[in-house]
Symmetry: C3
Subunit: 330 residues, 3 copies
């Protein structure tokens, strides 16, 4: 592992991440990616520590990724899924968190459909003066920092595998396409991708991309551009990130039909002609094939980084657990 | 670990626990609490053993506590939750237990909404002449022995942290308040808290505390008192245990309203004035804030032992798994 | 472990298993059964590997058996249950599998209500050129190879515990009784039990045993016989395997009543008089007592191998994970 001066105790948002912090995460994740290529993909770093996955909103993909990351660091894991749980009967979320604290949890990975819950729990832990760390695994439409970091790691690792770092993004053009209004993934990515001199272009139908997004990141070195059509966002892009479209948006009258959405904003081989020739496509998953992205493009390793993102996810989450976990125990 | 002459193979009820057994559990739990304060909170005691959590009634809190205890003893754990399970389709509970036995389970931790199920399974295991141990994690309204023991450990540890033992309770006055009729926690606590010369006072509305409770523990050295009002139970008390109130009791016409219940039997700062000045409050959780106990009192570390109880739970369950587990393998 | 020349990468079906492969599984399982009798029932074989149980159809029994087998080989396990999962929202099954691949899964244990799903996933993995192995844990009404192998191991181990092998079945008469039409267990067993010179007799009501079953295994050395009554199948049998009866079959008008089914095809002590005196009875579980088999017979260790089957299941699944896992990592 790289020598590090990591001091952040919780990982709740990317809004105030520094360049040094981004680079430390990227470099630490690169070290763990190397561990994952060994025959025995396990290190004893967090032996005897407990990582509790408190998923008040169900998720298999993110929970499995954190679980595998924790196990590869030799931590013990506990899974809490509120749908199958009786713990919250009449109990507040803070009380549930305090129960897991009192059981000896060292790191809490928290997902909740309401924005701000991981922050509130972290605050309470700090108020109590305890050492437990909180990791936001997605809160409402607010943030999903580990997803933002794994997307960043995926891109930077492609640009320079042995030494991924933020400055590699300088001068690149990146497009984020889709349901930006409701996406916590987009919000975390806006922070990370505007942390250096990158051109970040957001594209969506007006119902999914209100003008106020122009305000995001206006104090950041990167430049943010809004588009209500796909074409101008794609032009000359190095990377295109598409977002998952919740089908519930249709019933809320925000979109006419999946077919029309795909026609206008779905990423296809022909639309990619507008981008740089080496363009790559990302998607946080799970993908609705033929909606956000055409099926053949998704499976084309020349363009799709979707599998890389999942693999990066484990390395990045190992890095995050390591950085906040080893800070805590040393 | 203390040298021990433990011979009990299953832990099903506290009704026939001896003073020596209580003291062995308390002293063993104290040793494990010391392990939990180390950097690596893990011991190899049960390595290669399988602890199966067979929860026919859903529970996250107790299941997580047993799971974390088992993992800290290096056991492998299996979780069975009947709500998400197809195993019981047409199969008897004894057959389900025998299936987990045949898979190589060493210790079965069993919760069931029907009283007597863990006992029936333990009997069947004995009849079969196998070494598997059964631990009752709550059966109907009958008993919840590990909760009774962790409450005892919490109180005795407060009185003398380095050497918790039953005789520390001599001469103390303890009140149990709330839905005693339906509470397996109360039943287990009545056994443990009357095992020495303690004054045990039960307080509840008449619908939740029938007179027959006076018969409980009448052959025990402790004295048992019944109150249909809170005040006389609290007077001069050293410890107050409140019980969780199932909201279903309202619909069964056993209580007028939550508000009135809180007014009459809820524990508040002002009502505690009746107790000794050093009084402490316990609750098995999860808590309905503002019903069984006022919200500010619950969060006041000067009075509330609720977080200590959760922490004690892990140490006590490690002790129980160790005592029945190491008996089995030696 | 025995020296082995195992080359099969996925275990999807027993249709093309060779005698050498059967014998390697049987002999490897016998070695692991020895491990399971030790005090520390654990070997480091698959340390650092990830076994993902992807159960798109719920199952506690088979999932627990695979989980315990994986843990005893020191693998890390991940459980995916589609009922509680959001991962498949709009995502194809192949995409879900590829996500677990990208997270670093080494072995996927897959159950799906649709026949052919594990095969499709295995094909996709091979197409991608990745090393991950797929193990079919039951696909629709097609196959359940690990169950077929554990039944085989149970029988051969009884005949010669120290050296179970296929040729021990030569000259034996085995009856499979019950809902053969809908049973993936029966299909896997038909392959394994006709792999040598065994007389295999199928018995069921005509609605549950169409004539086309006579075609199965017609190119195999064993002989296959169909019976629409129980008696002729049981006559002189060495082993009787009964199958689980899904109660849904009643509503589909395939059976008149459970009572009549038990009268005609349920295995009882008196019906066993037709068999050899040393006859043994098997059932894949969970059992409907008094339907497929009489309750007292099920509990009689002189006749019933049902618990042995469950124990064999862990040893056989350890063998399968070991054979495909160690092939992969060497």
């Amino acid at each position: 592992m790289p020598a590090t001066t990591w001091s952040r105790h919780h990982i709740l948002s990317l809004a105030d991440f520094t360049v040094t912090e981004y680079d430390t995460v990227l470099q630490t994740a690169a070290s763990f990616r190397e561990v994952l290529s060994r025959r025995t993909k396990k290190v004893p770093t967090l032996q005897g520590q407990v990582v509790a996955n408190l998923f008040f909103e169900p998720s298999t993909r993110t929970r499995s990724s954190f679980e595998i990351a924790a196990k590869r660091l030799s931590a013990d894991t506990l899974n809490f899924a509120s749908s199958t749980s009786s713990i919250t009967k009449g109990e507040t979320i803070l009380d549930t968190a305090k129960t897991y604290l009192a059981m000896g949890t060292d790191i809490m990975v928290i997902r909740h459909k309401q924005a701000g819950v991981p922050q509130a729990i972290a605050q309470e832990m700090d108020r109590l003066g305890v050492k437990v760390s909180v990791l936001n695994a997605g809160d409402g439409q607010h943030e999903h920092p580990s997803q933002g970091l794994l997307d960043l790691f995926t891109i930077c690792s492609l640009l320079e595998p042995s030494h991924p770092r933020l400055e590699l993004l300088k001068g690149k053009k990146i497009a984020i396409v889709g349901d930006i209004l409701h996406s916590r993934v987009a919000r975390s990515n806006i922070w990370s991708l505007t942390a250096t001199d990158t051109e970040l272009h957001l594209a969506a139908p007006p119902t999914l991309l209100p003008k106020l997004f122009a305000d995001c990141g206006q104090d950041r070195p990167g430049k943010l551009f809004l588009h209500w059509n796909l074409e101008s966002a794609l032009e000359g892009a190095d990377f295109v990130m598409t977002l998952r479209l919740q089908k519930e948006r249709m019933t809320a009258h925000l979109l006419p039909s999946l077919r029309e959405y795909h026609h206008l904003f779905g990423i296809t081989r022909s639309k990619l002609q507008l981008c740089k020739s080496h363009v790559k496509v990302l998607h946080p998953g799970p993908v609705n094939r033929g909606v956000e992205i055409s099926s053949d493009l998704m499976d084309d390793p020349e363009f799709s980084l979707i599998q890389n993102q999942v693999t990066s996810g484990v390395a990045v989450r190992m890095a995050l657990l390591y950085l906040i976990g080893s800070g805590k125990i040393s």
